[in-house]
Protein backbone atom coordinates (compact mmCIF):
# COMPACT_ATOMS: atom_id res chain seq x y z
CA UNK A 1 0.00 0.00 0.00
CA UNK A 2 1.09 3.56 -0.62
CA UNK A 3 2.51 5.58 2.28
CA UNK A 4 0.52 8.53 3.65
CA UNK A 5 1.92 11.62 5.35
CA UNK A 6 0.46 14.72 6.96
CA UNK A 7 1.49 17.88 5.13
CA UNK A 8 -0.84 20.48 6.61
CA UNK A 9 -2.94 21.17 9.68
CA UNK A 10 -5.70 23.61 10.58
CA UNK A 11 -7.60 24.07 13.78
CA UNK A 12 -10.23 26.11 15.56
CA UNK A 13 -10.20 25.25 19.26
CA UNK A 14 -11.21 26.61 22.64
CA UNK A 15 -7.60 27.72 23.01
CA UNK A 16 -7.56 29.73 19.80
CA UNK A 17 -7.97 30.00 16.06
CA UNK A 18 -5.02 28.23 14.47
CA UNK A 19 -2.87 25.18 15.12
CA UNK A 20 0.22 26.95 16.42
CA UNK A 21 -1.55 29.32 18.80
CA UNK A 22 -3.55 26.41 20.22
CA UNK A 23 -0.45 24.24 20.60
CA UNK A 24 1.53 26.99 22.31
CA UNK A 25 -1.26 27.65 24.79
CA UNK A 26 -1.84 23.93 25.35
CA UNK A 27 1.82 23.40 26.24
CA UNK A 28 1.82 26.36 28.61
CA UNK A 29 -1.17 25.03 30.54
CA UNK A 30 -4.02 27.27 29.31
CA UNK A 31 -7.53 26.03 30.03
CA UNK A 32 -10.47 26.80 27.73
CA UNK A 33 -13.33 26.19 30.17
CA UNK A 34 -15.69 28.90 31.36
CA UNK A 35 -19.25 29.54 32.41
CA UNK A 36 -21.61 29.70 29.44
CA UNK A 37 -23.01 33.24 29.15
CA UNK A 38 -24.47 33.25 25.65
CA UNK A 39 -27.75 31.62 26.66
CA UNK A 40 -29.73 30.75 29.77
CA UNK A 41 -28.03 27.99 31.77
CA UNK A 42 -29.37 28.42 35.29
CA UNK A 43 -31.85 25.57 34.88
CA UNK A 44 -29.24 23.22 33.38
CA UNK A 45 -27.21 20.76 35.45
CA UNK A 46 -24.08 21.54 33.42
CA UNK A 47 -23.48 25.28 32.96
CA UNK A 48 -19.93 25.34 31.63
CA UNK A 49 -18.19 24.66 28.34
CA UNK A 50 -14.95 25.16 26.47
CA UNK A 51 -15.91 27.83 23.97
CA UNK A 52 -13.88 29.13 21.06
CA UNK A 53 -12.47 32.58 21.87
CA UNK A 54 -14.63 34.71 19.57
CA UNK A 55 -13.19 38.08 18.55
CA UNK A 56 -11.88 40.18 15.69
CA UNK A 57 -9.35 37.58 14.58
CA UNK A 58 -6.38 39.12 16.36
CA UNK A 59 -4.45 37.42 19.18
CA UNK A 60 -5.76 33.96 18.29
CA UNK A 61 -9.43 34.89 18.42
CA UNK A 62 -11.88 33.44 15.92
CA UNK A 63 -13.68 35.82 13.60
CA UNK A 64 -16.11 33.86 11.43
CA UNK A 65 -16.11 36.67 8.84
CA UNK A 66 -12.46 35.88 8.08
CA UNK A 67 -13.47 32.45 6.77
CA UNK A 68 -16.96 32.70 5.32
CA UNK A 69 -19.03 35.61 4.04
CA UNK A 70 -21.70 36.73 6.51
CA UNK A 71 -24.47 35.95 4.04
CA UNK A 72 -23.14 32.39 3.70
CA UNK A 73 -22.71 31.95 7.47
CA UNK A 74 -26.37 32.80 7.93
CA UNK A 75 -27.34 29.70 5.94
CA UNK A 76 -25.36 27.15 7.95
CA UNK A 77 -24.82 26.03 11.52
CA UNK A 78 -21.48 27.00 13.04
CA UNK A 79 -19.92 23.53 12.70
CA UNK A 80 -19.71 24.16 8.94
CA UNK A 81 -18.06 27.55 9.48
CA UNK A 82 -15.50 26.02 11.86
CA UNK A 83 -14.80 23.24 9.36
CA UNK A 84 -14.41 25.69 6.49
CA UNK A 85 -11.97 27.76 8.56
CA UNK A 86 -9.83 24.81 9.63
CA UNK A 87 -9.81 23.36 6.10
CA UNK A 88 -8.62 26.64 4.60
CA UNK A 89 -5.89 26.90 7.24
CA UNK A 90 -4.78 23.34 6.53
CA UNK A 91 -4.69 23.82 2.75
CA UNK A 92 -2.72 27.03 3.18
CA UNK A 93 -0.35 25.31 5.59
CA UNK A 94 0.22 22.51 3.06
CA UNK A 95 0.55 24.98 0.20
CA UNK A 96 -1.88 22.84 -1.79
CA UNK A 97 -4.23 24.80 -4.06
CA UNK A 98 -4.96 22.51 -7.01
CA UNK A 99 -5.64 24.33 -10.27
CA UNK A 100 -5.44 21.66 -12.96
CA UNK A 101 -8.18 19.11 -13.65
CA UNK A 102 -5.79 16.33 -12.71
CA UNK A 103 -4.84 17.82 -9.35
CA UNK A 104 -8.41 18.74 -8.45
CA UNK A 105 -9.66 15.24 -9.24
CA UNK A 106 -6.83 13.71 -7.21
CA UNK A 107 -7.86 15.69 -4.11
CA UNK A 108 -10.78 14.59 -1.96
CA UNK A 109 -12.49 15.65 1.24
CA UNK A 110 -13.57 13.53 4.20
CA UNK A 111 -14.75 15.65 7.10
CA UNK A 112 -17.25 14.49 9.70
CA UNK A 113 -19.20 15.72 12.65
CA UNK A 114 -20.69 13.85 15.56
CA UNK A 115 -24.00 15.66 15.66
CA UNK A 116 -24.07 18.33 12.96
CA UNK A 117 -26.51 21.21 13.06
CA UNK A 118 -28.38 20.53 16.26
CA UNK A 119 -29.23 24.15 17.07
CA UNK A 120 -30.52 24.85 13.57
CA UNK A 121 -32.80 21.82 13.75
CA UNK A 122 -34.21 23.05 17.06
CA UNK A 123 -34.91 26.50 15.60
CA UNK A 124 -36.53 25.06 12.49
CA UNK A 125 -38.72 22.96 14.77
CA UNK A 126 -39.99 26.13 16.43
CA UNK A 127 -40.55 27.76 13.05
CA UNK A 128 -42.50 24.74 11.81
CA UNK A 129 -44.69 24.73 14.88
CA UNK A 130 -45.27 28.48 15.14
CA UNK A 131 -45.30 29.61 11.49
CA UNK A 132 -45.91 26.47 9.47
CA UNK A 133 -44.06 24.61 6.72
CA UNK A 134 -43.98 27.55 4.27
CA UNK A 135 -41.51 29.31 6.56
CA UNK A 136 -38.91 26.53 6.52
CA UNK A 137 -35.87 27.95 4.73
CA UNK A 138 -34.46 26.25 1.63
CA UNK A 139 -31.14 26.41 3.50
CA UNK A 140 -32.46 24.48 6.47
CA UNK A 141 -31.40 21.06 5.17
CA UNK A 142 -28.10 21.92 3.42
CA UNK A 143 -27.05 24.06 6.38
CA UNK A 144 -27.42 21.22 8.89
CA UNK A 145 -26.29 18.05 7.06
CA UNK A 146 -23.03 16.69 8.38
CA UNK A 147 -21.49 15.93 4.98
CA UNK A 148 -22.03 19.54 3.94
CA UNK A 149 -18.68 20.46 5.49
CA UNK A 150 -17.07 18.20 2.91
CA UNK A 151 -19.43 19.60 0.28
CA UNK A 152 -18.73 23.25 1.10
CA UNK A 153 -14.97 22.70 1.32
CA UNK A 154 -14.95 20.94 -2.05
CA UNK A 155 -16.92 23.75 -3.68
CA UNK A 156 -14.78 26.53 -2.21
CA UNK A 157 -11.46 24.91 -3.14
CA UNK A 158 -12.51 22.97 -6.26
CA UNK A 159 -11.59 19.58 -4.82
CA UNK A 160 -13.22 17.03 -7.10
CA UNK A 161 -11.94 13.72 -5.73
CA UNK A 162 -13.76 11.44 -3.26
CA UNK A 163 -16.26 13.46 -1.23
CA UNK A 164 -17.21 11.66 1.91
CA UNK A 165 -18.08 12.05 5.56
CA UNK A 166 -18.02 10.17 8.84
CA UNK A 167 -20.51 10.12 11.70
CA UNK A 168 -19.28 8.02 14.61
CA UNK A 169 -19.97 10.26 17.60
CA UNK A 170 -16.75 11.03 19.46
CA UNK A 171 -14.65 8.80 17.20
CA UNK A 172 -15.60 10.80 14.10
CA UNK A 173 -12.41 12.83 13.70
CA UNK A 174 -10.13 9.82 14.10
CA UNK A 175 -12.21 7.66 11.76
CA UNK A 176 -12.19 10.47 9.16
CA UNK A 177 -8.40 10.66 9.18
CA UNK A 178 -8.04 6.88 9.19
CA UNK A 179 -10.52 6.29 6.38
CA UNK A 180 -9.11 9.14 4.29
CA UNK A 181 -5.62 7.69 4.71
CA UNK A 182 -6.94 4.40 3.36
CA UNK A 183 -8.37 6.13 0.29
CA UNK A 184 -4.91 7.47 -0.43
CA UNK A 185 -3.15 4.19 0.42
CA UNK A 186 -5.45 2.34 -1.99
CA UNK A 187 -4.92 4.89 -4.75
CA UNK A 188 -8.37 6.49 -4.85
CA UNK A 189 -6.88 9.91 -4.14
CA UNK A 190 -3.44 11.50 -3.78
CA UNK A 191 -4.47 14.18 -1.31
CA UNK A 192 -7.32 14.21 1.23
CA UNK A 193 -8.63 17.02 3.38
CA UNK A 194 -9.75 15.15 6.50
CA UNK A 195 -10.97 15.75 10.03
CA UNK A 196 -13.98 16.77 12.05
CA UNK A 197 -15.95 19.80 13.21
CA UNK A 198 -18.54 20.33 15.91
CA UNK A 199 -20.64 23.16 17.33
CA UNK A 200 -22.70 21.51 20.04
CA UNK A 201 -22.75 24.16 22.75
CA UNK A 202 -26.45 24.85 23.14
CA UNK A 203 -29.20 24.35 25.68
CA UNK A 204 -30.44 21.20 24.00
CA UNK A 205 -27.03 19.52 23.83
CA UNK A 206 -26.11 20.42 27.40
CA UNK A 207 -29.49 19.08 28.52
CA UNK A 208 -29.16 15.94 26.43
CA UNK A 209 -25.62 14.98 27.40
CA UNK A 210 -26.37 15.79 31.05
CA UNK A 211 -29.36 13.46 30.85
CA UNK A 212 -26.93 10.74 29.68
CA UNK A 213 -24.96 11.53 32.88
CA UNK A 214 -21.93 12.30 30.71
CA UNK A 215 -21.22 15.92 31.70
CA UNK A 216 -19.43 17.44 34.67
CA UNK A 217 -22.03 19.09 36.91
CA UNK A 218 -20.09 19.62 40.15
CA UNK A 219 -17.73 22.35 38.99
CA UNK A 220 -20.13 24.97 37.62
CA UNK A 221 -18.58 27.58 39.95
CA UNK A 222 -15.01 26.61 39.11
CA UNK A 223 -15.08 25.69 35.40
CA UNK A 224 -11.34 25.36 34.95
CA UNK A 225 -11.26 22.55 37.50
CA UNK A 226 -14.04 20.58 35.82
CA UNK A 227 -12.16 18.57 33.19
CA UNK A 228 -9.79 16.41 35.24
CA UNK A 229 -9.08 13.09 33.50
CA UNK A 230 -7.83 10.26 35.77
CA UNK A 231 -8.37 12.40 38.87
CA UNK A 232 -10.44 10.90 41.66
CA UNK A 233 -12.74 13.98 41.69
CA UNK A 234 -13.65 13.84 38.02
CA UNK A 235 -17.38 13.79 37.38
CA UNK A 236 -17.95 14.02 33.64
CA UNK A 237 -16.71 15.75 30.51
CA UNK A 238 -16.81 19.43 29.64
CA UNK A 239 -18.32 20.13 26.24
CA UNK A 240 -16.05 21.81 23.72
CA UNK A 241 -16.41 23.08 20.14
CA UNK A 242 -14.23 23.64 17.11
CA UNK A 243 -12.64 21.81 14.21
CA UNK A 244 -9.45 20.00 13.33
CA UNK A 245 -8.42 19.30 9.74
CA UNK A 246 -5.31 17.69 8.31
CA UNK A 247 -4.02 17.46 4.77
CA UNK A 248 -3.12 13.83 4.08
CA UNK A 249 -0.91 13.17 1.11
CA UNK A 250 0.64 10.23 -0.65
CA UNK A 251 4.33 10.26 0.24
CA UNK A 252 5.77 10.51 -3.29
CA UNK A 253 3.25 13.22 -4.18
CA UNK A 254 4.36 15.23 -1.16
CA UNK A 255 8.05 14.73 -1.89
CA UNK A 256 7.66 15.63 -5.56
CA UNK A 257 6.33 19.05 -4.69
CA UNK A 258 8.72 19.59 -1.79
CA UNK A 259 5.96 19.69 0.81
CA UNK A 260 6.71 19.99 4.52
CA UNK A 261 6.03 16.61 6.15
CA UNK A 262 4.80 16.63 9.74
CA UNK A 263 4.54 12.87 10.30
CA UNK A 264 3.50 9.62 8.65
CA UNK A 265 0.14 7.96 9.32
CA UNK A 266 1.29 4.38 9.87
CA UNK A 267 -1.49 2.72 11.83
CA UNK A 268 -5.25 2.73 12.03
CA UNK A 269 -7.47 0.44 14.07
CA UNK A 270 -11.24 0.17 14.43
CA UNK A 271 -13.45 -1.91 16.65
CA UNK A 272 -16.89 -2.17 18.20
CA UNK A 273 -17.66 -2.86 21.85
CA UNK A 274 -21.03 -4.51 21.17
CA UNK A 275 -21.88 -3.71 24.77
CA UNK A 276 -23.88 -0.54 25.58
CA UNK A 277 -25.14 2.60 23.81
CA UNK A 278 -23.21 5.07 25.98
CA UNK A 279 -20.90 3.12 28.30
CA UNK A 280 -17.69 1.38 27.21
CA UNK A 281 -17.34 -2.30 28.02
CA UNK A 282 -15.86 -2.52 31.48
CA UNK A 283 -13.02 -4.81 30.49
CA UNK A 284 -11.81 -2.28 27.90
CA UNK A 285 -11.66 -5.02 25.32
CA UNK A 286 -12.94 -2.84 22.46
CA UNK A 287 -10.24 -0.26 23.11
CA UNK A 288 -7.60 -2.96 23.45
CA UNK A 289 -8.49 -4.61 20.15
CA UNK A 290 -8.63 -1.24 18.42
CA UNK A 291 -5.12 -0.25 19.53
CA UNK A 292 -3.83 -3.76 18.75
CA UNK A 293 -5.16 -3.52 15.21
CA UNK A 294 -3.50 -0.13 14.72
CA UNK A 295 -0.15 -1.47 15.93
CA UNK A 296 -0.43 -4.48 13.62
CA UNK A 297 -1.18 -2.25 10.66
CA UNK A 298 1.80 -0.08 11.57
CA UNK A 299 4.08 -3.09 11.90
CA UNK A 300 5.04 -1.89 15.37
CA UNK A 301 4.89 -3.32 18.87
CA UNK A 302 3.56 -1.63 21.99
CA UNK A 303 7.14 -1.06 23.13
CA UNK A 304 7.59 1.29 20.16
CA UNK A 305 4.99 3.72 21.50
CA UNK A 306 6.34 6.92 23.06
CA UNK A 307 3.23 9.07 23.51
CA UNK A 308 -0.49 8.34 23.68
CA UNK A 309 -3.08 11.07 23.33
CA UNK A 310 -5.81 9.41 25.35
CA UNK A 311 -9.51 9.62 24.76
CA UNK A 312 -9.62 10.48 28.50
CA UNK A 313 -12.87 12.43 28.76
CA UNK A 314 -12.81 12.97 32.55
CA UNK A 315 -15.50 10.36 33.09
CA UNK A 316 -15.48 7.01 34.86
CA UNK A 317 -14.39 5.50 31.54
CA UNK A 318 -10.88 7.00 31.90
CA UNK A 319 -9.70 4.09 34.00
CA UNK A 320 -11.16 1.58 31.54
CA UNK A 321 -9.04 3.08 28.77
CA UNK A 322 -6.03 3.21 31.07
CA UNK A 323 -6.51 -0.46 31.91
CA UNK A 324 -6.68 -1.33 28.21
CA UNK A 325 -3.47 0.61 27.55
CA UNK A 326 -1.71 -1.13 30.45
CA UNK A 327 -2.78 -4.48 29.06
CA UNK A 328 -1.47 -3.43 25.64
CA UNK A 329 1.91 -2.11 26.69
CA UNK A 330 2.75 -4.50 29.54
CA UNK A 331 6.30 -3.98 30.75
CA UNK A 332 6.80 -1.00 28.46
CA UNK A 333 4.42 1.09 30.60
CA UNK A 334 7.17 3.04 32.33
CA UNK A 335 8.59 4.40 29.07
CA UNK A 336 5.25 5.73 27.80
CA UNK A 337 3.72 9.15 28.37
CA UNK A 338 -0.06 9.39 28.00
CA UNK A 339 -2.06 12.57 28.48
CA UNK A 340 -5.58 13.78 27.96
CA UNK A 341 -5.67 17.16 26.28
CA UNK A 342 -9.40 17.24 26.97
CA UNK A 343 -8.30 18.58 30.35
CA UNK A 344 -7.52 21.85 28.53
CA UNK A 345 -9.89 22.04 25.56
CA UNK A 346 -12.82 19.93 26.75
CA UNK A 347 -14.47 17.30 24.60
CA UNK A 348 -14.91 18.43 21.00
CA UNK A 349 -17.04 15.35 20.23
CA UNK A 350 -16.81 14.77 16.46
CA UNK A 351 -13.84 17.12 16.16
CA UNK A 352 -11.96 15.64 19.13
CA UNK A 353 -10.20 12.82 17.29
CA UNK A 354 -8.92 15.15 14.58
CA UNK A 355 -7.74 17.91 16.93
CA UNK A 356 -6.07 15.32 19.14
CA UNK A 357 -4.39 13.58 16.19
CA UNK A 358 -2.90 16.97 15.34
CA UNK A 359 -1.65 17.30 18.92
CA UNK A 360 -0.07 13.85 18.64
CA UNK A 361 1.57 14.95 15.38
CA UNK A 362 2.99 18.08 16.99
CA UNK A 363 4.17 16.04 19.98
CA UNK A 364 6.34 14.13 17.50
CA UNK A 365 7.48 17.31 15.73
CA UNK A 366 8.50 19.08 18.92
CA UNK A 367 9.40 16.09 21.13
CA UNK A 368 7.05 17.19 23.88
CA UNK A 369 4.01 15.64 25.54
CA UNK A 370 1.20 18.10 26.34
CA UNK A 371 -0.07 17.99 29.92
CA UNK A 372 -3.07 16.49 31.67
CA UNK A 373 -4.36 19.44 33.69
CA UNK A 374 -6.03 19.08 37.09
CA UNK A 375 -4.58 15.65 37.74
CA UNK A 376 -4.13 16.32 41.46
CA UNK A 377 -4.99 12.91 42.89
CA UNK A 378 -4.77 10.03 40.40
CA UNK A 379 -7.65 7.63 40.80
CA UNK A 380 -5.45 4.59 40.22
CA UNK A 381 -1.76 3.89 40.34
CA UNK A 382 0.00 3.29 37.07
CA UNK A 383 3.54 3.05 35.79
CA UNK A 384 2.47 5.10 32.78
CA UNK A 385 3.43 8.79 32.94
CA UNK A 386 0.10 10.66 32.77
CA UNK A 387 1.93 14.00 32.32
CA UNK A 388 0.22 15.78 35.22
CA UNK A 389 -0.06 19.59 35.17
CA UNK A 390 2.98 20.38 33.01
CA UNK A 391 4.10 19.45 29.49
CA UNK A 392 7.03 17.04 29.38
CA UNK A 393 9.94 17.27 26.95
CA UNK A 394 11.01 13.80 25.86
CA UNK A 395 11.82 11.84 22.73
CA UNK A 396 8.65 11.09 20.79
CA UNK A 397 8.92 9.22 17.51
CA UNK A 398 5.71 7.22 17.61
CA UNK A 399 2.38 8.51 18.93
CA UNK A 400 -1.03 6.89 19.24
CA UNK A 401 -4.30 8.79 19.46
CA UNK A 402 -7.43 7.10 20.82
CA UNK A 403 -11.07 8.02 20.25
CA UNK A 404 -14.10 6.16 21.55
CA UNK A 405 -17.72 7.04 20.85
CA UNK A 406 -21.29 6.38 21.92
CA UNK A 407 -22.52 3.18 20.38
CA UNK A 408 -19.25 1.48 21.30
CA UNK A 409 -17.31 2.71 18.26
CA UNK A 410 -13.53 2.87 18.68
CA UNK A 411 -10.72 4.30 16.56
CA UNK A 412 -6.95 4.45 17.09
CA UNK A 413 -4.45 6.27 14.90
CA UNK A 414 -0.70 5.77 15.00
CA UNK A 415 1.63 8.48 13.73
CA UNK A 416 5.37 8.17 13.28
CA UNK A 417 8.15 10.65 12.69
CA UNK A 418 8.76 10.65 8.96
CA UNK A 419 11.88 8.84 7.87
CA UNK A 420 12.73 8.30 4.22
Amino acid sequence: MRRVVITGTGMVSPLGCGTEVTWKRLLSGHNGARKVTEFEVEDLPAQIACRIPFGDGSDGTFNADDWMEPKEQRKVDPFIVYGMAAAEMALNDAGWHPQTDEDQIATGVLIGSGIGGLEGIVEAGYTLKEKGPRRISPFFIPGRLINLISGQVSIRHKLRGPNHSVVTACSTGAHAIGDASRLIALGDADVMVAGGAESPISRIALAGFAACRALSTQHNDDPQKASRPYDRDRDGFVMGEGAGIVILEELEHAKARGAKIYAEVVGYGLSGDAFHITAPSEDGDGAFRCMTMALKRAGLTAADLDYINAHGTSTMADTIELGAVERLVGNAASKISMSSTKSAIGHLLGAAGAVEAIFATLAIRDNIAPPTLNLDNPDVETAIDLVPHKARSRDINVALSNSFGFGGTNASLILRRYEA
Partner: protein, 78 residues
Amino acid sequence: MSDIAERVKKIVIDHLGVDADKVVEGASFIDDLGADSLDTVELVMAFEEEFGVEIPDDAADSILTVGDAIKFIEKAQA
Protein backbone atom coordinates in the same frame (compact mmCIF):
# COMPACT_ATOMS: atom_id res chain seq x y z
CA MET B 1 -39.37 55.67 -3.90
CA SER B 2 -42.35 53.94 -2.33
CA ASP B 3 -42.21 52.44 1.13
CA ILE B 4 -42.69 48.98 -0.42
CA ALA B 5 -39.74 49.46 -2.77
CA GLU B 6 -37.59 50.58 0.14
CA ARG B 7 -38.45 47.52 2.21
CA VAL B 8 -38.02 45.11 -0.71
CA LYS B 9 -34.58 46.51 -1.42
CA LYS B 10 -33.55 46.24 2.21
CA ILE B 11 -34.52 42.55 2.26
CA VAL B 12 -32.55 41.93 -0.93
CA ILE B 13 -29.48 43.72 0.47
CA ASP B 14 -29.64 41.80 3.75
CA HIS B 15 -30.22 38.37 2.24
CA LEU B 16 -27.84 38.53 -0.69
CA GLY B 17 -25.15 40.59 1.01
CA VAL B 18 -24.87 42.97 -1.94
CA ASP B 19 -24.13 46.70 -2.11
CA ALA B 20 -27.19 48.94 -1.96
CA ASP B 21 -26.32 50.72 -5.22
CA LYS B 22 -26.58 47.44 -7.15
CA VAL B 23 -30.13 46.83 -5.96
CA VAL B 24 -31.97 48.74 -8.69
CA GLU B 25 -35.38 47.80 -10.04
CA GLY B 26 -33.97 46.26 -13.20
CA ALA B 27 -31.50 44.07 -11.32
CA SER B 28 -32.00 40.31 -11.79
CA PHE B 29 -31.56 38.33 -8.61
CA ILE B 30 -29.65 35.56 -10.34
CA ASP B 31 -27.85 37.35 -13.20
CA ASP B 32 -26.94 40.62 -11.46
CA LEU B 33 -27.04 40.00 -7.71
CA GLY B 34 -25.36 36.59 -7.45
CA ALA B 35 -28.35 34.66 -6.11
CA ASP B 36 -28.86 30.97 -6.78
CA SER B 37 -32.18 29.14 -7.01
CA LEU B 38 -32.29 28.52 -3.24
CA ASP B 39 -31.57 32.19 -2.53
CA THR B 40 -34.57 33.20 -4.61
CA VAL B 41 -36.81 30.78 -2.70
CA GLU B 42 -35.65 32.34 0.55
CA LEU B 43 -36.12 35.86 -0.80
CA VAL B 44 -39.72 35.10 -1.69
CA MET B 45 -40.26 33.72 1.83
CA ALA B 46 -38.79 36.89 3.29
CA PHE B 47 -41.14 39.03 1.16
CA GLU B 48 -44.10 36.96 2.35
CA GLU B 49 -43.05 37.40 5.96
CA GLU B 50 -42.37 41.13 5.68
CA PHE B 51 -45.54 42.05 3.82
CA GLY B 52 -47.94 39.39 5.10
CA VAL B 53 -48.79 38.25 1.57
CA GLU B 54 -48.81 34.78 0.07
CA ILE B 55 -46.77 34.33 -3.08
CA PRO B 56 -47.78 31.04 -4.77
CA ASP B 57 -44.99 29.02 -6.38
CA ASP B 58 -46.06 29.79 -9.95
CA ALA B 59 -46.12 33.51 -9.17
CA ALA B 60 -42.75 33.24 -7.43
CA ASP B 61 -41.28 31.75 -10.59
CA SER B 62 -42.06 34.97 -12.45
CA ILE B 63 -40.40 37.23 -9.87
CA LEU B 64 -36.97 37.51 -11.42
CA THR B 65 -35.94 41.11 -10.69
CA VAL B 66 -36.17 43.59 -7.82
CA GLY B 67 -38.81 45.46 -9.83
CA ASP B 68 -40.87 42.28 -10.34
CA ALA B 69 -40.99 41.80 -6.56
CA ILE B 70 -42.01 45.41 -5.90
CA LYS B 71 -44.75 45.26 -8.53
CA PHE B 72 -46.12 41.96 -7.24
CA ILE B 73 -46.32 43.20 -3.67
CA GLU B 74 -47.80 46.57 -4.58
CA LYS B 75 -50.50 44.75 -6.55
CA ALA B 76 -51.13 42.23 -3.78
CA GLN B 77 -51.52 44.97 -1.22
CA ALA B 78 -53.59 47.29 -3.43
